[in-house]
Amino acid sequence: MSLTNRYDFVLLFDVKDGNPNGDPDAGNLPRMDAETGNGLVTDVALKRKVRNFVALIHDQEQREPAPGEKRFEIYVREKAILNLQHQRAYSALKLDEPAVSVASEAAPEKKSGKDKKRKGSGDDVNKARDWMCQNFFDVRTFGAVMSTGTNCGQVRGPVQLTFARSIDPVIAQEHSITRMAVTTEAEAEKQDGDNRTMGRKHTVPYGLYMAHGFVSAFLAEQTQFGEDDLTLLWQALGQMFEHDRSAARGEMATRGLYVFKHESKLGNAPAHALFERIKPKLKVDVAVARGFDDYAVSVDETGLPAGVTLIRIV
């Protein structure tokens, strides 16, 4: 059920003629590290993609969980991919309760007095927390903060993601574009019916980005994040860009997902030493990268520390 291994992973993705993550401080230019010129993609941008992917492939119908059922709803949502909000009803069934009758929406049953209390969930806050974890994939995975006092309502998720940085400095290109229409009548009059407006687009011609991530088996236990969730997370990281097409993004794709699986919960090697084994490098005869083929990703699988296996998901 719960995880028995620590995982550290490297995510490689690229962008071609698109803006992987705009910077609100710089008029939506691609995020750049001003000192080095490397492109950046924030952790929250990547998490958003994971959430959207899970929301796409799992039903987001708001309904009661069947007894012992784990659901894959997404708590922090984007309207763009969802139906309108509507009311919902849940029953207060717990994962570890024996399958008893399901409360119906019309006549909500009172909770039976023989609630089996899990260790450490003596109070309502813990119950509510566990219940949120049962229903919402993103709460289970990334954690959430609840509006109760300090710390007691905090769920720390097992999955930790870092900022992604491009391997080499990227340049941001600015394109002026025209639109053969105007928004208001006043504008049309001003232009004597010429009806054109100018717009701006920012793109990165090509950038290969790398992010690191960690999955803690101990924190997974606390949120009931299980093997099935982990499989889904890998799938999401591998395919999330395929379902995130838009005018701004250009062509983005996951180019590599290297998972280091440790034999134990505590781990068998330092994460940074494992990450150093994945080295994307610009090929020697390439001056400027314009495609993934211009990079060679060397994966050093020789002499992995005992108890660590490398799994290539992508």
């Binding site: 401080d25 001003a34 924030t42 049953e109 903060v145 870092t162 924190l219 030493a273």
Partner: protein, 221 residues
């Protein structure tokens, strides 16, 4: 009392100043409480407490500014409880309605050497000897094992850590001397529902911040 030294490095860090939490601004150097959390990420049991004694700054203090879209709301426990009681309630949050754009002034390319020792709390079971925990910590930190990856102030700023055997043999700290002003030492959790911050006057002398003991007069609420 055996003192342990961890080297923590990372591309970014944010040790948020409590007085500037909305648009996060980091302290210039790591706080003792963040350092304690890194040790706890490797080993913590209810019977022990970590005491951070010294923080060595190994890289010049540099900054990066970044603005992100964040969600302003938290999970409303009342709504959850209503929904659980098979009542009716809208739970999901929509980011478009609850959006805040918050800037952060983070540190970049940081490296620290943290010196700390562990205390076995009075009242612990008799088989909880300091030796037991010390050996556990040495085993774990030496192998790169951890309960969750230690981080530099925020979870997205993961830290690479290394147990330093002989701190004397390592590269020296930066040669900067600076008064860092009042800095968060740690939170007082004696009332778990209402943790109180306590501060100390931090001085960096040739890259080294000596941390006064939690019980000393220098640490004030």
């Amino acid at each position: 009392m055996k003192t342990y030294c961890l080297e923590l490095t990372g591309p970014y860090a944010c040790f948020t100043r409590p007085e500037m939490k909305v648009e996060r601004v980091s302290y210039d150097v790591m706080t003792p409480s963040a350092a304690r959390a890194c040790f706890e990420a490797i080993l913590w049991k209810p019977a022990i407490r970590w005491h951070v004694r010294k923080i060595e700054v190994l890289k010049p203090i540099r900054w990066i500014n970044l603005r992100r879209n964040e969600v302003s709301g938290v999970v409303s426990s009342r709504n959850v409880e209503t929904a659980m009681k098979s009542g009716v309630g809208e739970l999901a949050q929509y980011i478009e309605d609850e959006r805040q754009q918050r800037a952060g002034l983070f540190l970049r390319d940081v490296a620290y050497r943290i010196h700390a020792d562990l205390e076995v709390l009075p009242g612990a079971a008799s088989d909880n000897t300091p030796m037991k925990f010390q050996e556990m910590f040495e085993r774990r930190a030496g192998k790169g094992q951890c309960v969750n990856q230690p981080y530099l102030g925020c979870r997205e700023f993961a830290a690479a850590f290394r147990l330093v055997g002989d701190a004397e043999a390592e590269a020296p700290a930066i040669s900067e001397t600076r008064d860092l002003g009042f800095m968060l030492h740690d939170l007082d959790f004696s009332k778990p529902t209402d943790p109180q911050p306590r501060f100390f006057r931090a001085q960096m002398e040739s890259g080294v911040v000596n941390v006064p003991a939690w019980t000393s007069d220098e640490v004030r609420s």
